[in-house]
Symmetry: C2
Subunit: 135 residues, 2 copies
């Protein structure tokens, strides 16, 4: 399983924000309620999206979160890389080259690498706008 609930929840939050933020900030509590996700768990996921620059959060009453750019400019790939850390299907692609002494002669590495590009290319081609409900 490449993508855990962490990444999937993050994606749903971003879509929720895209569909509900009419220039106003949306409280995490609201999103958690609508998406039926534990508020406490969301608290652990959203900071990654903030530090990644995808969303902006402000404290205090009336605060909440807002997208920093239009849904057309946010891709699923961006969100997942921020929350899952790495989308590579196998470990040997990301570790240091010298960790695997067989790299030079490895029959399978080029295939893993191609699969990796395939996945990333696809996810980077899907925008939040394309996932929103038509109105």
């Amino acid at each position: 399983m490449i993508i855990s609930t962490r990444g999937r929840y993050a994606l749903r939050v971003i879509i929720d924000l895209a569909e509900h933020s009419a220039s106003d900030y949306v409280a995490m509590r609201e999103i958690a309620g609508r998406q039926e996700i534990s508020l406490k768990y969301l608290e652990k996921i959203l900071p990654a999206l903030v530090s990644g620059g995808l969303i902006q959060g402000i404290h205090g009453k009336g605060g909440g979160y807002r997208l920093t750019r239009p849904p057309e400019e946010i891709t699923v790939g961006q969100i997942l890389r921020l929350t899952e850390g790495d989308l590579s299907p196998v470990a040997c692609l990301t570790c240091d080259a010298d960790a695997c002494t067989r790299t030079a002669d490895c029959r399978t590495r080029p295939m893993w690498s191609e699969l990796n590009s395939l996945i990333n290319r696809y996810l980077d081609g899907v925008t939040i706008a394309s996932l929103m409900h038509p109105e």
Copy 2:
């Protein structure tokens, strides 16, 4: 990480068998030595390939394993599905439809489904023959 060492080891074993079995059976100990994989760990992986019909093992002295068909007819997808169980990138694709009450209205499911097809189509298109070293 979609594919663990289990699946990657299995793939390397199959390639090793394809490159070294000249109609003879190859002992697991030999493969483990060549591939630098723990013999004990391999013992836990290979039965899945046997019951999946990809390889055949015989007991006793002079025994070992052999592919049941030519490398051209074995794909990476087959091996990984046998050893990893499931290649789906997200959990919600494989669980029962009613496990997720949002399925009908889910913005993300079609995308996950397409990603799943993409991955499986790619892996089913790569044969062991195409990964073998040219001689």
